[in-house]
């Protein structure tokens, strides 16, 4: 595996590892690791660094929905133009082209269910190429980005063993 892949595998799970630590872990030079991270950021291989948050624990009442979108692809650009347009809405968290019975999977958050239904009926469905939508509300998150939300997997080992 090349060094870029090794770095990405490490920071995919823990974005807070700094270049010095990564360099030590991989047995590499810190300057080389720092330069590679910078290069991958410049090339938009690394797009950003998020935090995985269990908002439920903050008493957050906001609502998230996954919307299955069926649409008419356009000549020359296929799904891209509309998909990129949908991306522009700030309430949209992710947009993915899917295989199967629908085309786009759009994840949207809003303060209330009304926010989301307003977004679907006023913003999304009104686009010419959109043929139909199915809105599925997310009830509970169990796992996201490899993190378990109700994690009881604390260290069960004996504190000292031979």
């Amino acid at each position: 595996m090349d060094l870029q892949m090794k770095i990405l595998n490490l920071i995919e799970r823990d974005a807070r590892l700094d270049a010095a630590t990564i360099a030590t872990m991989l047995g590499e030079d810190e300057a080389i690791v720092a330069a590679l991270i910078k290069k991958m950021e410049d090339e938009k291989i690394i797009l950003g660094y998020n935090t995985v948050i269990n908002w439920d624990k903050m008493g957050d009442q906001s609502v998230t929905a996954m919307i299955e979108v069926k649409m008419q692809p356009e000549r020359e650009v296929g799904f891209n133009r509309i998909a990129e347009r949908i991306c522009r809405f700030p309430e949209v968290k992710s947009v993915k082209l899917m295989s199967g019975t629908y085309d786009l999977s759009v994840i949207v958050t809003g303060k209330t269910m009304k926010d989301i239904s307003w977004f679907v009926s006023h913003k999304l469905s009104t686009l010419d190429q959109i043929q139909s939508t199915v809105t599925l509300f997310i009830l509970k998150t169990y796992k996201q980005e490899h993190f378990m939300f109700n994690d009881n997997d604390d260290d069960k080992r004996l504190v000292v063993s031979p």
């Binding site: 490490l10 823990d14 590892l17 630590t21 030590t24 872990m25 991989l26 047995g27 997997d153 260290d155 080992r157 004996l158 504190v159 000292v160 063993s161 031979p162």
Partner: protein, 389 residues
């Protein structure tokens, strides 16, 4: 009745309790400890292995297996050892599935030792070989290994420990507690001594997959050594399966038949659910296992660098998941060091002398811990050293 000791055998009474036990009690009573004192992976057994065990229970695999263990598991073990160390074993006659390597060590010693026979054991090494020898009425003879040799066993030192009563040499590389490995050239020198003095080798290779700067070499793969060696291995460390208690022994059919005799009367067979899980590990577990090995390697480098930065002298361990730094720059012996470090900085490490006299002046630090804990432990140990040096 108060004094029960009259019912106990002299042999059992002469065996000292494990030095680790005392320390375990001390650590258990302390809150908020970062423990580098464990002797097992920090990973849970990969999910597909746990799931395969579940499925086997659903299908009703809850019965005895043959004494030797499931034939399909022995076949996979044979294929694995051939692939990894280049030695071929006949699954039908040359492999026994055991309840961890621990059982294999015990029954091998019992099957081979006559009262008074001497067993050569690396010092320091894992805690059970000397008591196991004692329980088989043999005499444990420590073979010192040294920091200056990166804790590899030296042929000349081994030879100086040999007497006419020497019968068995136990090899335990990669080593718990030192993290030392033996490369091919090191083993070749040992093999010469073994052949010259007609010894037999019990090679505990439980940490073989956790070898970082090269490939593990087994003494069984050297010319003339296959039939002189009982190769022991298992799933605990590489596949994070310590609690399953599943391992195996490979060797000459006469030796396997003899240890199987003890195994069949005392254990009967290894638990079938653990055997089913081990089968899954060997058939589909390699990729995930290698990821875990990479992960140990990352943390090995991290801890080693940390020790350098706080001025704790440590040779580069190339196997297992332990560092074995010297604490000779402090005024403490191993036990005092560990007790004080625990009380003052809430970091648990294990005194090196718990693994033999040659471990005095050293501590065992296990890096199967989170990066966060390792970094914090290094800071705390640095503070401790600054105060006491």
């Amino acid at each position: 009745m108060s004094d029960m000791s009259r019912y106990l055998s002299t042999t059992v009474k002469t065996i000292p309790p494990s030095g680790i036990r005392k320390f375990f009690d001390l650590v258990s009573q302390t809150e908020g400890v970062i423990s580098l004192g464990v002797g097992e992976p920090d990973f849970v057994t990969p999910w597909h292995i746990r799931e395969a065990c579940w499925y086997s229970l659903e299908k009703g695999y809850t019965m005895y297996t043959s004494n030797s263990g499931l034939i399909e598991l022995r076949e996979e073990v044979a294929a694995y050892e051939k692939r990894k160390v280049g030695v071929e074993y006949d699954p039908a006659r040359e492999i026994l599935i055991t309840v961890g390597v621990s059982e294999a060590v015990d029954i091998a010693l019992r099957a081979m030792i006559e009262p008074g026979d001497e067993v050569l054991i690396p010092d320091p090494s894992y805690v059970s070989y000397a008591p196991g020898t004692c329980l088989a009425f043999g005499k444990a003879v420590p073979v010192p290994t040294y920091d200056a040799d990166q804790y590899r066993m030296r042929a000349d030192v081994l030879e100086s420990c040999i007497t006419p009563k020497s019968k068995i040499l136990i090899l335990t590389f990669p080593s718990n507690p030192t993290g030392a490995i033996m490369e091919k050239a090191d083993l070749e020198a040992i093999a010469e001594v073994v052949k010259k003095h007609d010894l037999f080798v019990i090679s505990d290779e439980i940490y073989s997959e956790l070898t970082y700067n090269g490939k593990h070499c087994s003494i069984a793969s050297l010319p003339g050594m296959r039939d002189r060696t009982l190769l022991l291995n298992g799933f605990s460390k590489a596949y994070a399966m310590t609690g399953w208690r599943i391992g195996y022994a490979c060797g000459h059919p006469d030796i396997i038949a003899a240890i199987t005799k003890i195994h069949q009367y005392t254990i009967m067979c290894a638990p079938i659910m653990a055997q089913k899980a081990a089968l899954e590990a060997l058939r589909h577990g390699e990729e995930e296992m290698l990821k875990m090995v990479d992960n140990y390697n990352y943390r090995r480098r991290l801890l080693l660098k940390g020790f350098q930065e706080i001025g704790l002298e440590c040779f580069e361990p190339q196997g297992a998941f332990y560092c074995f730094p010297s604490i000779k720059s402090t005024p403490f012996n191993s036990e005092d060091f560990c007790e004080k470090l625990l009380k003052e900085e809430l970091v648990a490490v294990v005194p090196g002398n718990a693994f033999g006299n040659s471990g005095e002046g050293f501590i065992r630090c296990c890096y199967a811990a989170s990066v966060k804990d390792l970094e914090e432990a290094i800071i705390r140990m640095g503070n401790f050293l600054n105060r006491h040096r």
